[in-house]
Structure formats: C-alpha cells, structure tokens
Assembly symmetry: C2
Homo-oligomer: 446 residues x 2
C-alpha cells in the first residue's frame, strides 16, 4: 500500500489529498497542516474580521474530512524537514517529533505576507494577514483601534479598507505606486477605484512610500517619505511570497519567479515529489512565460492534478493560467484577466486598447450600475490580450470570466464582437458592455 | 451616389443603416419603419407595461437618429411592395403612396406573434405583444383587468407573468407542454422555474392546451381541454414567426426554417438584397444546421454585417449563433445556451449531462443565492454542447455567457474545468458552479 503525504491543508493540499483518495481507494493518505483549520479560505478573512462573514472560513472540519475522505489529518503539526532520498518527513506534533515515510509527497505550503525589513516592522500592532486561524486575534486588535493604516493597495489592502470602514475606523491607505492595485490594473482603470475609495472615506495616500513604523512596544505612528501619521494599528499588506523554505531544504528546484518549479503534471524536479498551489509557479497561457500568480481557484485545480498524478501517475495536466482575479470594495467590483496595457507593452507587445463606460442593464430598467470595461489587444493580430472591469454590481465580475475564456481561446476583437452572449433588459444592455468595448477597440472595423 | 433602403427600424434595421452610414459617408440611406419608434426594444415591453421600466423603449428618437447619423427616417410608413427587377419599394406614408428607388436593399422586417386559428382568437381582449408602440394601449387594457390568462409559457409568457403579478392581477398561465420554456430548457431545469412561478402566485396549468376563447365581443373565458376559466384579458404568447411576406413577394428565397435564407454576408438569394434580424435564419455553430432563433443581440450584429456589406460589399461575415438566451422571473434568472439534452438527443447526439445545485457566493458570505447549473456534453468527445442555468441573482445569467464562449470555442468538459475564471468570496464559491458542473459531468475524471 502506497503512502501519500501532503504538506499543507489549504486549497491545493486538501484538493490533492481528496483527489488522490478518489483515484486510489487503498493508499494511505496523510494531510499535514501547521494551523488548526484545513480547506481554509484566507480570501474570507477581511469579511470575517469585519463580522460580515458568518461561520467558519473552511469547507470541512478536520474531523469531517478525515471521516468522509478517509484521509488522516494532522493539524497543528509542522513539517520541519523533508528527506527526499530516504523519503520521509519530520513532523512536530503536540510537542513530539515523528518521522513519516512517504512514497509520494505533495508540497502545498502556500504563500505568506512579505514583511519588508523596515524600522519598527516588528512592533506590536503591525499586523499581517496570514491564515484564517488569526481572525479572532486580528479582530480583537482592530476592534479597539480608532485609526488603522493599511500599507499596500493590493487586493488585501482594498478588501481590508472596506472591512475597517465597516468597523467604524479611520482608515489610511499608503501605496508606493501612483495608483491602487498596481500589479493588477492599468492606471486609467485604477483611477476609478481610487476615486470610489476616497468617496467612501479612505484617506488614500498614493505614491507615498512608508519608511518606518514608530512606537515603544506597540506601533503608534506610520512614517512615510512625506509625513508622520498617528495610528493605533497597521495592516501590512505589501504583497505575498511563496513559502518555499521546505522545498528548498529538500533540494526541490525553484523557478525563475522564486516559486517552486513544476511541470504540467505538477511534478517538481525531484522524483515522486509534487507541488501545487501558491507555492508553485504557473505557465501563463498568453505569453508562455512562467509567472507567479497565487490564487485559490488555481490552487484547487493544481491540487487536483498533483493529487491525481501522485496517486496514479500522469493522469492529468494543468494547462496554465491567464491571470483572472477579482476583488471588491463595497458594491464596486474590480476584475481583471490577461495582460494589462502597461504589462503587455513591457513584455514587448504593440497594443491597442479601449476603455468604455456603460451600464449593467438596459437604460430604461431600474437598478443597473455603471461599468467601465477596458480591453487590450495586440495591434498586429487583433488578438485580445487582457480585460479589466470596474463596475457597480456583482455581475461585472463575470464579464471578466467571459473575457478570460476569450483570451485563453485566442479570440480576436472580431471574435469577441460576434460572440453569442445573452441579453434581456435586466441582465445587460442589448449591446453588452464587452461587445461595445470590442467594437470601440476595432477602431471602426466593427 | 448610391441609395440604400432599409425596411424595418428595429435592432437589425437601425444597425444596418448606422453601419452603412459609417462605411459610406456619401450614400443616401433611408430607414423605413411601420411604427412610430425606431431602435425600439420589444424585450422591454413587459417591464414598461408593468410600470417597472422608465422612459422610452428606444435608444434613439427618429429625429436624433436622422440628425446624428444623417439617415432619412420614415416612421409610420409601410412598405407595400418590393420590386427587385426595377429596384424600388412602394411605401405608404401619411396617406400617400410613393416609389423609392434603391441600389441596395436591406430587409429587416422582424418577427410577429403567432396567432393560431382558434375559436374566439379575434375577440377583443385577446392581446398579442408585437411592438413597443403598443405599450400604452396594452397597459390600459390590463390595468382594468382583475384576472389575466397568459397562453404560452415561453420567454414573453414568463416575463408577462411577473409583470401582471406586480400589477396585482390574478394570473393564469396555460402551457400545452408539461413544463414552461419547453423550447429553451430541459424538463429537469424547467421544473425549478415552474416551482418558483407557483410559489409567487401564478396559477400554472401545464400540459393543458387552450382550445377556445369565449365572449360576446370581449373575451370573458379561456377554454382548455380540461376546463373553462373566467378571465378579463388574455395575453396570447404561443410563439413568434418571421415576418416574411414582403421578402416572399419580392421573390427572395426562404430557408428550411421558413425564415429568409441568407449567406454569411447576409445576402439573400436576390442580388443587392440583404436581410438581417428576426426575419432571417441563422447557422447554429454546433450543429452547422440552419435555425431560426430570433434575438435582439443577433439582430444587431446581423444588421451591422448587412449594412456594412450593403455599403461596401462583403466586408464582414456573420459567423452564426449558439442560441444563448436569458429571461427572468422576479429575482430568478433563467439562461441557456447551446443544445439542451432533449434537443441534442433528438438531433442524434449521444449525450451525458449533469445538473448541480450551488450558491453564488462563498458559503460564509451573506446575500448569495442558490443556482442550478446543467451542462450537457457529447459522450464520445466530451465536447460541451449546452448549458442551462436557473438561479437567484443577476450574475447567474453571465454563467451562461461564459458557457456560450466555451461552446462556441469547442471546449471539452476538461477545458471548462481548467478555465481560469475568477474568484473572491463575494462573487462565487471557490469552486465556481460551472466548474463544479464540469467536474460532476466528468464522472470522476476530474
């Protein structure tokens, strides 16, 4: 009987374990998780902290997963060492150290917040968001605060700014780039996001780099290049990085992005060692390049592939990503896929783009929202490279899913224009905003 | 200077005229419309009748269209004859008859409600929904009624049932098939729709054929195979058919569906005569067959192609449809694309299908709705043939747009599963309902 050990109980690890079980009913499968939760949902943390989300940020309790899936789950257990020659892991569990042999290993150690070396970064009250385990602790810290600074205008920063406003806090956001979501959006689209954030009460400091945190034992001020701001707590959300220490110590090769290198079977450079999720790099379907875009749906699917192949050997391939991501700020939804205009240009594409403003329903219907759609295409071929959407209403997030399929299928502007997407007055204008964007992008050809 | 005459001021006709103008700034373009509105939106009629929609059901007034587009617009003008040899149309305008020469003609005469030969069908109060011109008249009829029968459970029937309930009426719906939306949905999905309609108060009579309307001059009862129902008004919505009389009289060939035959350039069988919109048949991208699926977004795009080609000769092609359509009943959205299971089976495909139930947000987020997703695939190839979605919340309509792109791109089950569609807790569960449906459909392969 083979034994499959999975390190990490998040999206990728739990999916890998479940898939391995499905494909091999007899294997012994052990899922090892450092924290207390598995199948946990870090994406829900801002809403749990604000008290908006209800219930556990996890799909399965460890007990339920063990029982329903027949998988051994070791929570509060830390893998301290991986030996790929003798095929065992060393695990610290409840004060005891044990060695666990494996035939196949899946590394799903995820990502962690970047903590820049900066004076005062170790002060109490300089908080990072790592794991749903922390929700109660973070909430109790933040509840007492009057003023909170968010450092970093990425997805977590945006979502936490809503959460903190909802909790009644004075909220600063500091972003060193000139617009929020700099890695996700072009400046023209990000400007729409910034405007709404200011309108809702975020004190937004763009193009302002934080250089220090001050305080005696607990932080009481954020210092930037431009000034000093008294605060009670700080959310440090300047980005994430892959958790690769274990992989590195095991001799697993990293890729050019600094994340674990895997092939399409989710095999690492070491035989019988697979990796999946936020710890690994992915192939971008447009550029063919290796990228590191850590997102839960990708992690889930990569976990499936890794687990399936660990159990049965090369039964599935993971085909890559186009970088589809979504966030929200109150009822403004922000989504993107493919390459932005700035990013595509940097990668050497000659591009054309169109940014249009439309509504989410026919003009005569009540309740629609404004939506801004940007499409980016390669000038020579007309191939759609990217889409960015900001709009009011949940549905606009799906516009980007439609665009993602167009992009991963190699659609041209004309292909998008002629796509048979649906219409009735309450779901879209008769010329769907995506179709309008394609038409404008065609510069008179459509 | 060429003269382009367009018959019909709806979606297809207005698009054709606008596109012709765009591609030929010098042509004389005349748009002839029987009613008083152009660029009109019949899809909005149920909401305008109920007082939900505000403002005109038209994008442009004739005056604005004339001025902004430099197109002559003849409203309240009926084309009574088309001569394709001498290239003129005969038009009745304000009591006068005139002949208008053309170099290129676009027929965009649309569709009309089917009025079955049935005793009493000509009684006053047996109403059909033809044109936004009728809104005020229909509303005044229906406002006075206490009890209204809707005959036909298609899109118009469903939307009118909501409108009439909102107006405080007692509403009967009679549908001869055993479930609503028989042409659009499979029985298992339609059953969900029926349940909600009953819950909201529609007295739904399924599998019950109407055989007669009774009354002296005004209808006062609907008679079915099973009984007699006293009513004040009747909405007759048993289907639509293409308006082809003019085309036929001009010697333009009809296709196998009974609608006007056109090639991908929207050229009819007669030189210099184009046709577009609900009057014409389309090519189904999955089956390659000719179908008649009259929908506004298709009409708009076909109009563009017809107008562009009328102006400049074969500059654009219309690539066909996959039959994406959407409707709603209160906050339940109903959408479909491709082939249903019943339809596909009838066409000779061996199919497999999965119908799943999920939610539109992560389980811990407030405000999500239930959504049912059905996917149909060809058994041998795994190619996705169709998708049907019923769910609570506008966003579920876009699931079908995503599926439409998958279908028109020839995706397999696995391609859908690995599609890079977005996630955050407020826009979808981490396993998107479409991905879950693909997984279930894979029968353990994913």
């Amino acid at each position: 009987m083979a034994r499959i050990v999975v390190i990490g109980g998040g999206a990728a690890g739990a999916s890998a374990a479940a898939r391995a079980r499905r494909l091999d009913p007899t294997a012994e499968i052990i899922l090892i998780e450092r924290g207390s939760l598995i199948t946990h949902a870090p994406c829900g943390m801002p809403y749990a902290i604000a008290g908006i989300a209800k219930g556990e940020l996890a799909t399965y309790s460890p007990e339920k997963f063990e029982k329903e899936r027949n998988i051994k789950v070791y929570t509060n257990s830390t893998v301290t060492h991986v030996d790929v020659d003798k095929k065992y892991v060393t695990v610290e569990r409840g004060g005891r150290i044990e060695k666990i042999q494996w035939d196949k290993l899946v590394i799903a150690t995820g990502a962690k917040p970047i903590v820049p070396k900066m004076p005062g970064v170790d002060l109490k009250g300089v908080l990072t968001m790592r794991h749903p385990d922390q929700v109660a602790e973070l909430r109790s810290h933040l509840e007492k605060a009057k003023t909170v600074a968010i450092v970093g205008g990425g997805y977590i920063g945006i979502e936490m700014s809503e959460a903190l406003l909802e909790m009644g806090k004075k909220v600063y956001m500091f972003e060193k780039f000139a617009h929020p979501l700099p890695a996700a959006l072009d400046p023209d689209v990000a400007a729409i996001v910034a405007e709404e954030m200011i309108k809702r009460g975020v004190e937004l400091h763009l193009g302002e780099r934080v250089v220090e945190f001050r305080g005696s034992s607990h932080v009481n001020a954020v210092v930037t290049e431009k000034g000093e701001y008294p605060v009670d707590e700080v959310i440090l959300a300047v980005g994430v990085e892959p958790n690769v220490e274990l992989a590195v110590s095991a001799g697993v090769k990293l890729g050019e992005t600094g994340a674990v290198y895997v092939n399409e079977y989710m095999e690492t450079s070491v035989p019988d060692v697979y990796a999946a999720g936020d710890a690994v790099e992915k192939v971008h379907k447009i550029t063919g390049r290796r990228v590191w875009i850590p997102l839960a749906p990708t992690a889930n699917k990569e976990g499936q592939v890794a687990g399936g192949n660990a159990a049965r050997g090369r039964v599935m391939k993971f085909p890559g990503v186009v970088g589809t991501a979504v966030t929200k700020f109150y009822d403004m939804y922000i989504a993107r896929t493919g390459l932005g205009e700035v990013e595509a240009t940097r990668l050497g594409y000659r591009v054309q783009s169109a940014l249009i403003k439309a509504r989410t329903k026919a003009h005569y219907m009540p309740g629609g929202g404004v939506v801004h759609v940007k499409l980016v295409a390669e000038e020579s071929s007309g191939r759609i490279l990217g889409a960015q959407v900001v709009g009011w209403g949940q549905i606009v997030s799906a516009y980007v899913d439609i665009a993602a399929l167009a992009i991963q299928s190699g659609y041209t502007i004309s292909d998008v224009f002629f796509s048979d997407i649906g219409y009735m007055p309450d779901t879209a204008p008769v010329w769907h905003p995506l179709i309008v964007a394609a038409r404008v992008l065609s510069r008179g050809h459509l």
